[in-house]
Subunit: 132 residues, 2 copies
DNA sequence: CACGTGTCACATGTTCCATGTGACACGTGC
DNA sequence: GCACGTGTCACATGGAACATGTGACACGTG
C-alpha cells in the first residue's frame, strides 16, 4: 500500500514536521484532493516506518490548521473548507516573509531575482503535481 | 554599554538562533557597517543576560557564514567581503523559498499578494534601519 | 460482536539547548 | 615580562523537545 503523497524521511528535522510539510505540499499542488480519503495514522506509520504517535502528532497539527477533517470512528479526509487567514496569522506570516528577505539580502540577491525565484516555485507547485 | 543591534530574547526559539538572526538583520539594514567593531562574546553575553557559550555559538555561525571576521587576540569585526552565494547555497535557498510559497498557498494568498509582501519587507529592511 | 478508526496517557531513551566551570592561545598595552 | 581582554575549547549538568514503547478507550462499520 502506497501513501498518496511523496516523503523521504531525513535526519536533521523532526519527523512530524517533515510529515506535516509533505502533506501541505501535496494538498496545495492538487495531489491530495479535498474530500478524498487520508490514510489512517497506523497506515502512515507503517509505510514510513515511524511510530504511530509521531504520525498522530503530525495529523493533529494538520487538523488544527484545517487541512484535514476528522470523522471519529470513520477516518480522516482532506479538508474541503479553506482556512480563512486571520489578521494574527497574516502578521505571523509576514514574519516568515521577513526571514526569507533577510536571507536573500544576506546572499546578495536583488529584489527581482528573489521575486523570480518566488514566481518559479509558485508555478512549480501549481502546474506539475507529479514531480514533487 | 549598549549593543549595536536590537534584540529582545523570547522563548520558543533557541537563543543562539535569535542572536544570529538579529545580527543578520542589523548587517543587511546598515545598522552594523562592514569593518566596524563587533562586541566581544563576553560583552554580548552580559548585555543579553545569556551564557558566554551561547553567545559564542551564535558568533561561530556568523563567522562560518562570512558576516563576521575574527582577529585572534584582537576581537571581532563585521565582515567586509560579501559571501558569494555558491550553487549549493542557492539550491538550499530555493528550498526556503518553496517553504514560504507552500505556506502562502496554504493561506489562500495570491501570487501578487505574496510578491507585494516580499517587496514591502524588502523596502522596510532597506530604508529604515532605525525601526528594527 | 469483531474490526479499524481516531485519541489519549503514561514511561523511556535520545538529542538538542542553555548553562556551569575551568582552561588555553593570542595580541595589546603598561 | 606581565596583566588584561580577546577568541576558543573541553568537559559536565539540568531541562526541554523528540521519537519510541506500551497500553488503553470511544466511535462507527460490518
Amino acid at each position: 500500500m502506497m501513501l498518496p503523497f511523496p516523503l523521504q524521511i531525513q535526519p536533521g528535522l523532526p519527523i512530524s514536521e517533515q510529515l506535516v510539510y509533505a502533506v501541505k505540499k501535496a494538498v496545495i499542488s492538487g495531489l491530495l484532493k479535498p474530500g478524498s480519503r487520508f490514510p489512517s495514522v497506523r497506515a502512515v506509520s507503517q509505510e514510513l516506518r515511524i511510530h504511530p504517535n509521531t504520525a498522530h502528532k503530525a495529523v493533529g497539527v494538520l487538523i488544527g490548521e484545517g487541512l484535514l477533517e476528522v470523522h471519529p470512528g470513520i477516518g480522516t479526509v482532506v479538508g474541503k473548507i479553506p482556512p480563512a487567514p486571520s489578521a494574527r496569522e497574516l502578521k505571523l506570516f509576514a514574519t516568515e516573509v521577513e526571514r526569507l528577505v533577510v536571507e536573500a539580502k544576506n546572499r546578495r540577491l536583488h529584489l527581482d531575482e528573489l521575486q523570480a525565484m518566488v514566481e518559479r516555485q509558485w508555478n512549480r507547485l501549481t502546474k506539475s503535481p507529479t514531480q514533487l
